[in-house]
């Protein structure tokens, strides 16, 4: 009850304050260093909660009682000041740096540390910079901001998942990558792992694994830390082996209630698509392959009637740009409002956010609402309570289903004269003007080809939506037993409910290929977890000695429930629930499952520092998990780190060198973490159910599986980290360099059982992946005249070796995914996701050249080649070109995952103006241009690349170096074979992620409106990419083992131009 009254009081004060007789004081806060105004200083009337914050020039204005009072000025890193107002109406003051407080506070596991005390690899995200990027998912805004952290989008549709990799790929488990643990205000959150999204390049297996970050409102984030090495992350234990992202949300600050409001409106424009032939070019290319009448003798393809009709009467046909029909400009808007405040009783902050983003791809979109309430209560000097609760609701409208093919491929492969709507040229035949179902006239009767489906029709035929609602709540109590000794009991609960729905309508033409008509699928997935933390901590400073100890016990439970049903052939299009009448009972399906596991952990840490010079930190954790057999259930995971701040030594301070190098610190750490990546339940042989029909009815079939290994246990990752932090010229230039090695061993990996022994796989704790790398971070602060300039540069080099994986871990020749085969492979002892391709060496220009292309024993390598065919390199010198994954002619052709990543962030302010420039780039990798491979296939009748117009032709174009248009290319000379290096390109790029220009309205103006610090800005995101890549965007492919660097024609990136406005009251 008391708490409620406190809250009420706070608001009452606010109301009363504005009613009582008041007068205004103004003033400027300046720096004692150089006399410039200091923005952002908290100015509070002592003993009240009324206060304000200085504007960009350090000016403030505050209503005070007639009698005046005392103003308290506070700012992190500066010594607090007080000044008695008396009868003054202008109260200027200067503040000086508090050297002791200069160091920022860093949130680490279950506590905070001074940056100066940090000895492991913990990166703090520059929130002010990051929050300028307006992205639906915070993850994206992290791109290029933190060294060692790599973010890749899976496709650019709004709401699609991002891949986060911290310090390289450390898991061999296929494509799922190595997502980090996300902890928000002490709550370990998780995204849905199981949503089946057939048409989304998520996880390779139709699911998309998310981290949960996507449901957080970026404007609620106060600080964000990334724990990168085992010693830092150890406290989070087994879920932290891929690193931890710690988020602290904004809390209310002491002072009168403050309202902040932020609005953004923007337009998104898709990147330019790959060049495709227009109608005239298309026909010209077809004719070059199949003859003028398209009936060439070697024509294995039944020509689409539409193409023949075109020959008959070209004037009837238009040319359609299918890429632009599918991808077009889209609108986005974001609004945020927050109320916050605080006093001696504690603090509060309540916020709401709304984001609406239409996708540039046809039919896609994203919408999200966020609400959050954080409050903390000081019950007594010893007892504190606090809570945070956040709810969100989002809806993703994914791309229309496209039969496991990229919608973009469908668009660019579409025949250019095929009218998207109705029959051309006689619209009377198809007055509904609905999109056509098929690519081609059905008239041929004998041409069932419908692989290039009309994406416009599918957008109309299918509707799909993916809704997620989340609740994240935390409640804690903290009691100070004696000075320095605290007990904290905290309970957290996180729940994500996913609701996926897809349905189809009546097929517009009954003979259509696909027959899931009037179909409905609804899937509900409820993913929840709770944890209870009991933490006892002790802080003690004795002279120059500083101690900090922590002991805790944590229990956690994770639950995923799913329920999914489908029905088909409802009576009507109009109904959209399972109650709809008429569904065919034989096509009804219901599935459901429960996945549950538990963990208990004991955590402990001990920190000691002496005289701010020497620091040492121990952590130890013991985890037990229900995922493992009793005999191998528990794992022990220790960590140690230490630091030496050389610049705090007397000799250093006294020597002249400290004038140049004012700060120098060495760090070292080592730690072990455990990881559990097995299935949810401990390994047990389960029976497979295989019914059969005998005697006219169904009989049950049950069978034991192949062999299993019940003793699968923890994977272990060991990290060693060395770091140096230094500052030059009073930190005008500061830098950090980290060198690390992470060895992930006992990897759970599968040994393939040969088919002849029954097939399948058996798991082992075998295998090892090593990541090592260098992380560099520089920041430069300088005032150049009136311009304040801040430049941050980060760069990462990561080297990954799959030192010991089962020799069998080779991918590469599986079925093509999204029309593009797995051209990358992963070999034991090498990096993940390497390209292994057959080298090409130009084209043959004459029979003589073909005859002289021989292996060392004189065998003609391509005896069936003709002039104009590609010359392939016979790498294994066996006289033929073969593409076996091992032993064929494929050779290493580049890395799919870029080893170098860098980010550059520049901020400049000048008076009321500010400018932000952010870039990031990847270097050292290759990209496989999938769309190019598809468009340059010289056969079939999908649309082509205009490049084929310049193909070699002995008669008309003998000078060309582009292979001939051979319609039988699949046969003897496979020029367009996907596993050659013809489609591999340089993957280096630099992307302008943000260019923002802002203007803070002058105080004189805003005061009149009753606002403080209103700012308008315009920003451009993803405005341009500098790269040599010929496709749409070189930033492609999941950073996993098989799909790295492969451009599968995912939805293209887009530019965003935003107009924004933010204001506080």
């Amino acid at each position: 009850m008391k708490k409620k009254i406190l809250l009420l009081n706070a608001s009452l004060l606010f109301i009363l304050g504005s009613v009582l007789a008041q007068r205004a004081v103004t003033g400027q806060v300046t720096s004692s260093d150089d006399g410039t105004g200091i923005p952002g200083v908290n100015v509070v009337l002592k003993g009240t909660s009324s206060g304000t914050i200085t504007d960009v020039d350090g000016n403030f204005r505050l209503e005070v009682p007639e009698a005046g009072g005392t103003l308290v000025y506070t700012f992190i890193g500066l010594n607090s000041q007080e000044s008695v107002i008396g009868s003054r109406s202008i109260v200027d003051i200067s503040m000086s740096a508090d050297l002791a407080e200069l160091e920022e506070i860093v949130v680490t596991g279950y506590g905070v540390q001074d940056r100066a005390d940090v000895t492991s690899a913990v990166a703090s995200v520059d929130i002010s910079n990051m929050s300028k990027r307006s992205t639906a998912d915070v993850t994206q805004a992290l791109q290029g901001t933190v060294t060692g952290v790599k973010i890749k989008y899976t496709d650019a549709n709004p709401g699609s998942a991002f891949n986060i990799t911290i310090r390289g790929v450390s898991s061999p488990s296929g494509t799922s990558g190595s997502p980090p643990l996300v902890v928000v205000d002490g709550v370990m959150i998780s995204g849905l792992q199981n949503v089946s999204f057939e048409n989304i390049v998520g996880n390779g297996d139709g699911t998309r694994a998310t981290t949960g970050l996507e449901n957080i409102n970026p404007n609620d984030i106060e600080s964000m830390e990334i724990l990168k090495d085992a010693s830092a992350a150890a406290i989070y234990g087994s879920r932290a082996a891929n690193g931890v992202i710690l988020i602290t949300t904004k809390k209310g600050k002491k002072g009168a209630p403050q309202v902040s409001f932020n609005a953004e409106l923007g337009v998104q424009t898709p990147y330019k698509g790959p060049e495709t032939a227009n109608t005239a070019q298309y026909m010209q290319i077809l004719q070059s392959m199949y003859g003028q009448d398209l009936g060439g003798e070697a024509n294995d393809f039944l020509m689409p009637q539409a193409a023949l009709d075109y020959l008959e009467n070209p004037g009837q046909f238009d040319s359609y740009d299918w890429y632009n029909l599918v991808y077009s400009e889209a609108f986005t808007q974001t609004y945020d409002v927050a109320v916050s405040g605080g006093g001696d009783f504690g603090n509060y902050r309540i916020s709401a956010g709304y984001k609406d983003q239409d996708g540039v791809a046809l039919g896609t979109g994203y919408e999200r609402i966020n609400l959050r309430a954080n409050s903390n209560f000081n019950v007594s000097k010893k007892l504190k309570f606090g809570q945070s609760i956040a709810i969100s609701n989002s809806e993703v409208l994914p791309e229309p289903y496209a039969f496991s093919r990229s919608v973009m491929f469908k668009a660019i492969a579409q025949v250019p004269h095929f009218s998207p709507y109705g029959v051309n040229p006689d619209p009377a035949n198809d007055p509904s003007a609905l999109p056509r179902t098929r690519s081609f006239y059905w008239g041929g009767g004998d041409n069932p080809e419908a692989l290039i489906r009309n994406p416009l029709d599918y957008a109309n035929f299918w509707s799909r939506s993916d809704q997620q609602s989340t609740v994240t709540a935390n409640l804690y109590g903290e009691y100070q037993i004696i000075s320095g000794l605290k007990f904290r009991l905290s309970g957290s609960y996180n729940r994500t409910e996913g609701f996926f729905k897809e349905r189809t309508r009546t097929l517009s033409q009954p003979e259509e290929y696909f027959n899931a008509e009037r179909y409905l699928n609804e899937t509900e997935i409820e993913d929840s977890n709770w944890n209870i933390d009991n933490i006892l901590s002790y802080n003690k400073a004795i002279g120059k000695h500083n101690f900090n100890a922590l002991l805790g016990y944590v229990a956690q439970q994770f639950t995923t429930r799913s329920l999914s049903g489908t029905k088909e052939l409802f009576l009507s299009d109009i109904t959209s629930t399972f109650d709809g009448p008429g569904a065919d009972p034989t096509l009804t399906e219901l599935n459901g499952s429960l996945e549950e596991y538990r963990m208990t952990s004991i955590i402990s840490s001990l920190f000691y520092s002496f005289d701010n010079k020497y620091t040492i930190n121990f952590t130890f954790r013991r985890d037990g998990s229900s995922r493992f057999d009793e005999s191998v259930r528990y794992g022990n995971f220790p960590g140690i780190s230490g630091g030496w701040t050389l610049s705090n030594e007397g000799f250093w301070k006294n020597s002249g060198i400290s004038n140049i190098v004012n700060r120098l610190k060495f760090r070292a750490s080592y730690g072990i973490l455990g990881r559990q990546v097995t299935s949810t339940y401990r390994p047990q042989a389960t029976l497979s159910y295989i019914p059969y029909s005998l005697g006219g009815g169904v009989v049950n079939g049950l069978m034991t599986p192949g062999p299993i290994n019940p003793f699968i246990s923890w994977e272990e990752s060991k990290t060693t980290n060395f770091g140096v932090d230094f500052g030059l010229y009073q930190d005008k230039l500061s830098a950090s360099v980290d060198v690390f090695q992470r060895q992930t061993a006992q990897l759970i990996s599968a040994i393939v059982i040969p088919s002849s022994a029954g097939g399948g796989e058996i798991q082992t704790n075998d295998g090892e992946i090593n990541n090592s790398g260098v992380e560099l971070e520089f920041s430069f602060n300088q005032d150049i005249g009136p311009v304040n300039l801040n430049i941050g540069l980060n760069a990462t080099y990561i080297w990954t070796r799959l030192t010991s994986i089962p020799e069998d871990l080779i991918y590469g020749d599986g079925a093509p995914e999204w029309d593009v085969p797995h051209v990358s492979q992963t070999f034991q002892g090498r990096s993940p996701g390497e390209f292994w391709l057959i080298e090409t060496d130009g084209i043959f220009k004459s029979q003589a050249e073909i005859d002289s292309h021989v292996s060392s024993d004189g065998t003609v390598i391509q005896p069936n080649a003709q002039p104009g065919d590609v010359r392939f390199v016979d790498a294994n010198d066996d006289g033929q070109i073969t593409s076996e994954p091992v032993g064929g002619d494929r050779v290493f052709s580049g890395l799919g995952i870029a080893p170098w990543n860098a980010g550059l962030n520049i901020n400049a302010t000048y008076n009321n103006f500010d400018l932000t420039l952010s870039f990031y780039g990847n270097f050292g990798s290759k990209v496989y241009n999938g769309p190019k491979y598809l468009l340059e296939q010289p056969f079939g009748y999908d649309n082509f690349s205009p490049t084929l117009l310049g193909a070699y032709d002995a008669a008309t174009n003998p000078g060309s170096n582009f292979p001939r248009n051979n319609p039988n290319d699949l046969g003897e000379n496979y020029n367009s074979r996907p596993d050659s290096d013809r489609y591999i390109e340089n993957g280096n790029f630099v992307k302008a992620s943000l260019i923002q220009f802002g203007y803070r309205l002058p105080m004189s103006f805003s005061e009149k409106l009753g606002m403080s610090s209103p700012r308008v800005y315009v920003s451009g995101q993803n405005l341009f990419t500098i790269s040599g890549y010929e496709g749409i965007d070189p930033e492609q492919g999941r950073d996993g083992l098989i799909s790295a660097g492969i451009d599968r024609g995912t939805a293209p990136q887009f530019r965003t131009i935003l107009l924004g406005f933010s204001v506080n009251f």
Binding site: G295, E297, D300, L302, Q305, L308, D309, Y441, G443, G444, G445, D446, P448, L451, I481, F487, L489, P510, E511, Y513, N534, Y553, A555, T566, L587, T588, E589, M599, T600, I602, G624, S626, Q684, L687, Y689, P691, Y692, S693, L694, G695, V698, V699, G701, L702, M703, T704, P705, P707, I751, I753, P754, S756, A757, D808, D813, E884, P885, L970, G971, E972
Partner: protein, 599 residues
């Protein structure tokens, strides 16, 4: 101060309480989603259910274990042409320029060994279990050996080599098993099938389980294949003995209507020796089985992979029946869409060709069939005549007919105009779109237009029923036994009359003259093999035997060359392509196996 002490106590208690709950029990969670196998194989029923799972591997995929209607074998026969060249792997396989990593034929290997692994697992469990019903033990044992034997036989003739595991592999060192020779594989298969033959009943209570006849049929077929594949003439006699046993004591007979072998309503009939049972498909994984849809018909469903070769049409129409009509087997094997000409032959001349309007409804015997009409435009000056005159200035138009049909089931309608030329071919137009939809005058197998598709297994009553239907796949039927007997008996030097007699049975059922071959010459030792080959084609298109027949006869290259497959024949290496390559995965993961030498 007192208060603080109290709170301290509470906190200490809380802490203790939660820590103490860290019992191991809390970390024990049972998987509620599936049955764990700990207590399986502890009742008679368990063994029955385990044996039931052996049936599933034998069917379903593109390259299924059995000799199914859609298998990889059909695509390489001279009866079938590849309809869509888009499927690069299929195209390479089809043209014999695949490499080992192509993978089209891999399923036969993996399915066969999957069956063998399961069979071994059950057999091993049987050693440690005493059945309450000892007859059941014998019955199941026989069925297991039937499946294992048939699987080893399949490996023997399809790959020519392979491991012979007889125990289930359980540990890593057992995963690698060395390959053995075809002789050994045949020998193991004979051993298994002999056990099966001895203990299987002539009739099964549950229709669909293998019978003595089925085991005998596989045994006979094995000897016949071994004779051809391994040049082992002594096997012919063994084969003839097995087949003769079926003919004399099996109790099988040819059905009166040939079509009864391909429709669902007459499954498991007197001609049926072993069938893969397909049943209602009701959603994924709940299903039993359904027919795979590779051999589909435009406008009905499935990816169109197969189409009939021009040769098959010629071959099957080479002999008229006793009523001077085309052989019913031609008309029920191929499908003519919309009354279009097939390979330049006018639809009207084909007699009882089935018509199925695009759209899934089709001919309906119950009386609600398509409502059709025709109109004669011969001699009139029209759009179509002008187009045809432009195309063939030297030809004379003999007939212009409009044919239309309204299909009330599919609610679809078409009107086609057929322009017939004096050279005996026709061009068909879509009346509304004024477009050419079939040009019989330029028909060729490689392109252009033709309108024949495979209709075998599309049932009689539902001519346009989806290909994915529940019609059983006939794995071995009596007609096959008769023709194999005729061959084995002849090759073994048996009495020629016996061979002629059984060929006569097959001919008579098709309403053909007996004692003569397709050309009307009387049957004797000079033409009996040709006639057997011809009848095998007539009977078994899309039943998975033709490709292997040509290999074991050593005529694959010759036939492909002669029957309109010059590309495939040119690349074909008879030595190399006698066997499929061992799946790349097997070579990669099994340290003790090498790829087939020529691959």
């Amino acid at each position: 101060m007192k208060k603080i002490k109290f709170i301290r106590k509470i906190i200490a208690l809380l802490f203790l309480f939660t820590v103490s709950s860290c019992s191991n029990d809390w970390l024990e969670i049972e998987n509620p989603n599936s049955i764990t196998s700990g207590s399986f194989f502890s009742s008679d029923d368990d063994f029955v259910m385990a044996v039931n799972t052996l049936f599933g591997d034998t069917e379903g995929g593109f390259n299924e274990l059995w000799y199914g209607g859609s298998g990889a074998s059909n695509l390489r026969s001279d009866a079938i042409a590849l309809a869509a060249v888009d499927f690069a792997q299929l195209a390479q396989y089809y043209n014999f320029n695949n490499d080992a990593s192509n993978g089209i034929s891999d399923g036969i290997w993996t399915d066969a060994y999957s069956t063998i692994f399961k069979a071994n697992t059950i057999l091993k469990q049987m050693e440690n279990y005493t059945f309450t019903d000892s007859d059941l033990s014998v019955a199941l044992n026989a069925q297991i050996h039937f499946f294992r034997g048939a699987s080893f036989f399949r490996i023997a003739h399809a790959y020519g080599t392979g491991p012979i595991p007889l125990d289930p592999a359980e540990t890593e060192d057992q995963f690698n098993v060395a390959a053995e020779s075809a002789e050994n594989l045949y020998a193991q298969a004979i051993q298994d099938l002999t056990i099966a033959k001895a203990d299987l009943p002539s009739e099964q209570e549950e229709v669909g389980r293998p019978t003595k006849g089925a085991a005998t049929a596989f045994l006979g077929k094995l000897y016949l294949y071994r004779a051809g594949y391994l040049n082992d003439d002594s096997s012919y006699g063994l084969a003839a003995t097995e087949f003769n046993e079926i003919i004399t004591t099996g109790g099988y007979s040819l059905t009166a209507k040939w079509l009864d072998n391909f429709v669902a309503s007459t499954e498991n009939n007197s001609e049926s020796i072993y069938e893969a049972q397909y049943d209602v498909y009701s959603g994924s994984y709940n299903a039993t089985q359904q027919r795979p849809g590779t051999a589909s018909v435009p406008g009905i469903s499935g990816e169109i992979v197969f189409k009939p070769s021009e040769w098959i049409f010629e071959e099957m129409s080479k002999e008229r029946d006793n009523d001077s009509l085309l052989d019913v087997r031609l008309l029920r094997t191929l499908y003519f869409e919309g009354g279009l000409p097939l390979f330049g032959v006018n639809f009207a001349d084909l007699g009882d060709g089935l018509v199925c309007a695009s759209g899934g409804g089709g001919e309906d015997d119950s009386g609600g069939g398509p409502d059709c009409w025709e109109e004669d435009f011969t001699g009139e000056d029209s759009y179509w005549t002008s187009v045809v005159s432009d195309l063939y200035p030297d030809a004379t138009i003999t007939e212009v007919m409009l044919n239309g049909c309204w299909d009330p089931v599919a609610e679809s309608e078409y009107e086609n105009v057929t322009v017939t030329l004096d050279r005996g071919c026709s061009i068909v137009f879509n009346h509304w779109e004024e477009s050419i939809i079939g040009n019989g005058c330029e028909a060729s197998n490689d392109g252009g237009s033709f309108s024949g598709w495979l209709r075998k297994y599309l049932s009689e009553d539902l001519a346009c029923y989806p290909v994915n239907n529940v019609n059983n796949e006939r794995i071995i039927r009596y007609a096959d036994i008769l023709l194999m007997y005729a061959e084995a008996n002849f090759m073994a030097g048996g009495n020629i009359t016996e061979s002629v007699n059984v060929v006569n049975l097959v001919r008579a059922r098709a309403n053909l003259l007996i004692n003569v071959d397709a050309n009307g010459n009387s049957l004797d030792a000079t033409n009996i093999m040709d006639e057997i080959e011809h009848q095998r084609v007539m009977e078994f298109v899309m039943e998975g035997t033709r490709y292997y027949d040509m290999i074991r006869w050593g005529v694959l290259k010759e036939r492909l060359q002669a029957h309109g497959f010059p590309d495939g024949a040119a690349t074909l290496d008879e030595e190399k392509h006698k066997y499929f390559p061992i799946p790349v995965g097997e070579v990669l993961y099994n340290d003790l196996i090498d790829q087939n030498p020529l691959w």
